[in-house]
Amino acid sequence: MSTYILKRFLQLIPVFLGATLLVYFLVFSLPGDPIVALFGDKPVNEAVAAKLRAQYHLDQPFWMQYLLYLKSIFTFDLGQDFSGRPIAAVLGEVFPVTARLAIMALIFEAVFGIVFGLIAGLRKGKFFDATVLVASLIVIGIPIFVLGFLLQFTIGVQLGWAKPTVSSAATVQDLILPAIVLGLGSFAYVLRLTRTSVIENMNADYVRTATAKGLSRFQVVRVHILRNSLIPVITFLGADLGALMGGAIVTEGIFNVPGVGNRLYRAVLSGEGPTVVSIVTVLVLIYCLSNLLVDLLYGWLDPRIRYDS
């Protein structure tokens, strides 16, 4: 097992280098001069512009800029963004907010998706099952920005059950509504995945054998149907954590959440190469690590899967 984990960590190195290089190149290729854009409508002061270019290494060729950036990473000094704040501090500010949001969304979709999916699967073809299936189709069909505005307006503004926007502190209460919006799409998938998986397992021979042992229906469902059905669901949830972290741009925009998505969006618009690359790199690493976690979980849930032999 430890060799397997070590191997997976070593694989992170090329992924890290490749991701940073690619993102750096994309930002470098953006049209327009970010320094000129900083002056806004005011006339450009050439001396100041040249000084700024030198400060952000924008006067260097692409390879030099990239290598200087790598050096800054390994010396734990990520430099400053265009407003003069250390990038490391910016990351430390936005990532906890988005992590909180993503984990809340994940808990929401896992708990409700699995519970609803299990009940629907056990009552296949009945009223509850049909209703939930149609509802999940509707949720999958409506784009997230429509759902977001809809819930913000009805629940947040009209009914006043939750805050329509998020304060700069981004507390757990603030994030409830955005987390539900963020998790809704995946909730529908988790529900359907659980349902299909439960139906498949319900007819498995070992479930019949378990019933023949004299177990109660509840025990059969909990021990034999639920755990076996969760294997594909957990895989999906793990992979989804990475997607939720990076994919919160729209939701964060609607609810004005001071998180990764918002900051990344602004950095892309203003062409702040180092900020964009830093944020994206952390996202890539989170994605890789959550996938590794899924693979380890998978082996734990299904003993037939072993990574050593």
Binding site: A204, T209, A212, K213, D302, P303
Partner: protein, 573 residues
């Protein structure tokens, strides 16, 4: 306890039946309305007695047994009749009552050891929950005790393993342990060994016999093998198309079957047929008419050369074991034999013996690691791609699974015509004529041409597979477990068809099988394989009459029905 019980006991005078099924009808709701899978079923199991239900697939034998433990599939229900367990009608009992009965009063050993254990729980956990659910002590020692009673060696540490770390036989022992863990009064054993190798089958059944005798458990044994039923059960109940057609004491029923279906079953069960041949030999009775018709030696005596010679054949597979390492696994080890033209040679062995690997190498689907396969005087390894194409025309396979080996998207005409088209034989009209002839040869109506595999039964599909193999007029046909998936009566028909085709067309068969009973009926020569090695070879008579090796003897003894005293011939109406 109550007066009604006293009255019943008085009525039966002796003992009350443990299980009594009276006029049972079971219906299934399908999209085409209600289908009756079982009608008017009746049977009685006395305490401590073993009763076998025999029948082919779809006869309703499993459905009847599952109804007795309240495990009918969701769309099935008891439509009429009674299931009396110890005097109590449980045919419409509440789920709560059934949960009370399951495990400690009625246990079950299911059919397929591969799919009946939950793969994500340790064996011990799966035994423990059985004990716990029925209120018995369930500590590690209790679990180990239950497992070791079922014949699992080293039970304490085995309990900590997962099902995939167990062999098929060990899994079945674990399932028997689970079924008998709470010492139920009735055990329902649904084809408990049909997924296992014959020698393992015998050990497991012997052990099950011993355990149920010690515990005084009554057994309801479901099987498709009449020989096995007669050997293991006191009473046999024969089911056919949802109805009980005959029942009675095993030997009586076997020696004097009344119903035409039972008579056919007795006549064609391979295990019984091979026993009869054995018995007849010992009495010195002429047995030719008991064997499937085979007179090729007479028809074409001029061509009795070795059409196939296998010399020192070896196949080594590389198994991955960790990072970039691999270990060698020798599947076939130094195997040599030859096959005479127009005869049937059987390769017998249990799973993992390498018999199918030999077949695949002879078919040129796998390349041997070393050794030679000489077909009609030519070493097949020297053939170029064009010559291999021609070789394929002369050597054709029939595989085990008639469901998997026919393309579901091809109709039967296209399936049989395909080899002709591939080898560019004839034009459209002549090919169609050929397909019609082939269907005639395998006794299928020509209207079958427009149908699809899913519209045919297993036996019909296997006939299609035979027709396809015959399409190119091959000289050698490799039958890899070609009849193992078929019900006994269908199996007998297909074996007869193969024998008839052999005598008519002078075909040579290489017959790969695990079933010695079938070998006894059709083969001229036998090669016995064990763990990749050829352990014994000779004419079928020699091998069956005086086996030289312990392994061959073990295989022969494992044919069900060994202890039965059968008359050499059974009158068949």
């Amino acid at each position: 306890m109550s007066t009604s019980v006293d009255f019943q006991e008085a009525e039966y005078a002796t003992e009350r039946p443990l299980l009594e099924i009276k006029d049972l009808a079971i219906g299934f709701t399908t999209s085409n309305g209600e289908v009756n899978a079982v009608r008017n079923a009746r049977l009685t199991v006395m305490p401590g007695e073993t009763v076998a239900i025999v029948g082919e697939s779809g006869s309703g034998k499993s459905t009847t047994a599952l109804a007795a433990i309240g495990l009918l599939p969701g769309n099935g229900r008891v439509a009429a009749g009674q299931i009396l367990f110890d005097g109590e009608d449980i045919s419409n009992a509440s789920e709560k009552r059934m949960i009370e009965l399951r495990g400690n009063s009625i246990g079950m050993v299911p059919q397929d050891p591969m799919s009946n254990l939950n793969p994500v729980w340790k064996i011990g956990d799966q035994v423990r929950e059985t004990l716990k659910a029925n209120g018995l002590p369930s500590g590690p020692d209790d679990v180990a005790k239950v497992l070791s009673q079922a014949g699992l060696p080293d039970a304490g540490s085995r309990a900590k393993q997962y099902p995939h770390e167990f062999s098929g036989g060990m899994r079945q022992r674990a399932l028997i342990a689970i079924g008998l863990a709470c010492q139920p009064r009735l055990l329902i054993a649904d084809e408990p060994t049909s997924a296992l190798d014959v020698t393992v089958q015998r050990q497991i059944l012997d052990h099950l016999d011993k355990m149920t005798t010690e515990l005084g458990t009554a057994v309801l044994l479901i099987t498709h093998d009449l020989g096995l039923a007669a050997e293991r059960a006191d009473q046999v109940v024969v089911m056919y198309r949802g109805q009980v057609v005959e029942s009675g004491p095993s030997l009586e029923l076997l020696q004097n079957p009344q119903h035409p279906y039972t008579q056919r079953l007795v006549a064609s069960a391979p295990s019984l047929a091979s026993r009869r041949i054995q018995a007849a030999k010992e009495l010195g009775v002429e047995t030719d008419d008991m064997l499937a018709p085979s007179e090729t030696g007479v028809v074409e005596p001029a061509k009795s050369d070795d059409v196939l010679q296998i010399q020192n054949l070896r196949k080594v597979f590389k198994l991955r074991s960790g990072l970039g390492k691999s270990t060698d696994f020798t599947a076939v080890d130094d195997v040599s034999f030859s096959v005479k033209r127009g005869t049937t040679t059987a390769i017998v062995g249990e799973s993992g013996s390498g018999k199918s690997t030999v077949a695949q190498m002879v078919l040129n689907l796998l390349t041997p690691t070393s050794g030679k396969i000489i077909f009609d005087g030519v070493d097949t390894s020297t053939l170029n791609s064009k010559e291999i194409f021609a070789f394929r025309r002369r050597v054709q396979p029939i595989f085990q699974d008639p469901y998997g080996s026919l393309d579901p998207m091809y109709n039967i005409f296209r399936t049989i015509e395909e080899p002709l088209r591939t080898h560019k034989i004839g034009d459209k009209a002549s090919r169609e004529k050929k397909v019609r002839e082939l269907l005639d040869q395998v006794a299928l109506p020509q209207s079958t041409m427009q149908r699809y595999p899913n519209e045919l039964s297993g036996g019909q599909r296997q006939r299609v597979a035979i027709a396809r193999a015959l399409a190119l007029d091959p000289e050698v046909i490799i039958c890899d477990e070609a009849v193992s998936a078929l019900d006994v009566l269908v199996q007998a028909q297909v074996l007869n068809l193969l024998a008839e085709l052999q005598s008519r067309l002078g075909l040579t068969y290489l017959f790969i099988t695990h079933d010695l009973a079938v070998v006894r009926q059709i083969a001229d020569h036998v090669c016995v394989m064990e763990k990749g090695k050829l352990v014994e070879t000779g004419s079928t008579d020699d091998v069956f009459e005086s086996p030289q090796q312990d392994y061959t003897r073990a295989l022969l003894n494992a044919i069900p029905g060994a202890g039965l005293m059968l008359p050499p011939e059974v009158e068949v109406a």
